[in-house]
Amino acid sequence: MTEAQIIKTLLNFIVADGATNDDFNALALQIFAYQFENNIPYQRFCRQRERTPRTVRSWRNIPAVPINGYKDLMLSCCDPESADRVFMTSGTTKDGIRGKCYHPTLSVYDTSMITAFRQRFMQEHPKLRMGILFPTEQTMPNSSLAHYLTLALNEFGADGSRYLLTDDGLDREALFSELDRAVQTGEPYALLGASFSFVHVMDDMERLGKAVSLPKGSRILDTGGFKGQSRELELDAFYDLLEARFGVPRDHCINMYGMTELSTEFYDWGNTTCPSVKSGPHWIRSQIVNPLTGDELPKGDKGVLVHCDLAHFNCVSSILTEDAGIEVDDGFLLLGRAEGAEAKGCSMAVDEFLKAAQG
């Protein structure tokens, strides 16, 4: 298939309902063949894994690239120069190299985001007045999250929706006035942003003794965890705090799980209990695997998440994450990062060596 054919097929697939397992599998294999043919580093990777389009029959066996692969390999089917947009991973990893995801068009990404966001976050609301606790897309042109939030605001934000972060940080006055306005008017309000931004905002509110009770139907979307950018909170404590500060019940606090290396996001149905069950739309599937063998684990065993995201058609659809998880009915539980172990004896392990060698 050509790129144009893939894009057209995908757009139809995403908006259509009722895709069967076989439909997903067939398209996954077509996209795998496309990536195998047009992306030489990925082809080499597959050959090393001894799997080719000729031998792979199920999406479950498509070789999944470790997300670190984005740092070492140029994973793009299109000429990177011609890409419409490039999203980069955050540069906080130990070697400071940022992985790049090229998008020849954002049409698939956007359709994927809009379709799932409507189902999973907006639900009964066609539009909501929104406040965004994250920098704008202009400030962070290579951030997929910035693009995601801009899209949310443009597509689903009612009049008056706005960003609540400026270049100087939180626009506290604007935030408080938005919150107060919502309380006064009774119009449901949506607050969206990075998890760590919420922590900063709530710390600020605590200092000022501020708490509001947003109108019924209001919702919160947080994403990305704390990443050392704010103090680390237990998830239960975090959602208790959100409920206490904003008056949004935990079942209306949605956590989005996404990453630069995907073009589709996972959501939960609220965080009444943590960890919540995450699931994605019909064009993404996940497996829990043994990190060493890549073999799928029995349901209920703890392993590492592999995602097969058809919408991420230009790079690689199947990635091996560093996130630990457990498969449950209707999705998976996300259990944080899977860490390597230190040696049991006096031999040195890689992480310790890197830390020591860098002083």
Partner: protein
Amino acid sequence: MKFDGKIVLVTGSSRGIGAAIAKAFAGEGATIIVNYVQNANAAEEVVSACKTAGGDAMAIQADVTSGEQIKALVDQTLMDFAKIDVVVNNAFKPYTFDPDNRKQFWDLEWQDYQDQLDGALFSTYTMCQAVLPALKKRTQGSIINMASDLVARPTIPYHDYTTAKSALIGFSRNLAMELGPLGIRVNCVAPGLVYPTDASRKTKERVKEMIIAQTPMRRIASPEDITGPVMFLASDWSRFMTGQTLYVDGGLVMK
């Protein structure tokens, strides 16, 4: 299935013993490279039989006495399948087993020997050289070379043919020695008279009766009788065997 996901290359497998071996592997889930030199239709028939049997297959034309063509065959296999698990060197120079019209030693020219050596030994040598880098990279693999029980018991002295097969056994033992430390096994299967095949079609009933009379199992081998030992040597069941020759002739030769 025993050979699920395994890639098996069988030379000269459009007909006869080769075709039977291909189909048997496919029945255990393997993907077969059906090599042939002339008969594309027959090869395609084997390919579809393999798929029906539950495996996968692809036909590739290549003359096993051409280094260039063999290399192209291996390259194409690796391109499509990324690895090779098993190689069965089955192809040989056409030879007519006709006891009544065989050449006696004083009728033979060196070229007759040379032709058979090329067919049995040079072809195997060429294939092994071509496939070895891929096997070494994985430090595993099984090579099976098809010999003949005539080597141990020349019931009819087909000088040129049997001498070449004898050389093949010596070749295989040396290769087994060299490749053992690299985790690659090399063994031979030595069938007795197999009927019917194109090569044995001219064998007279009288000769067959004579062989049957001396064979403990009291019959002649069919192509399907040969597949079991070949698959055994290809499998993990024989993982500690290398440099061996399995005689598959109903007990005619015992050693």
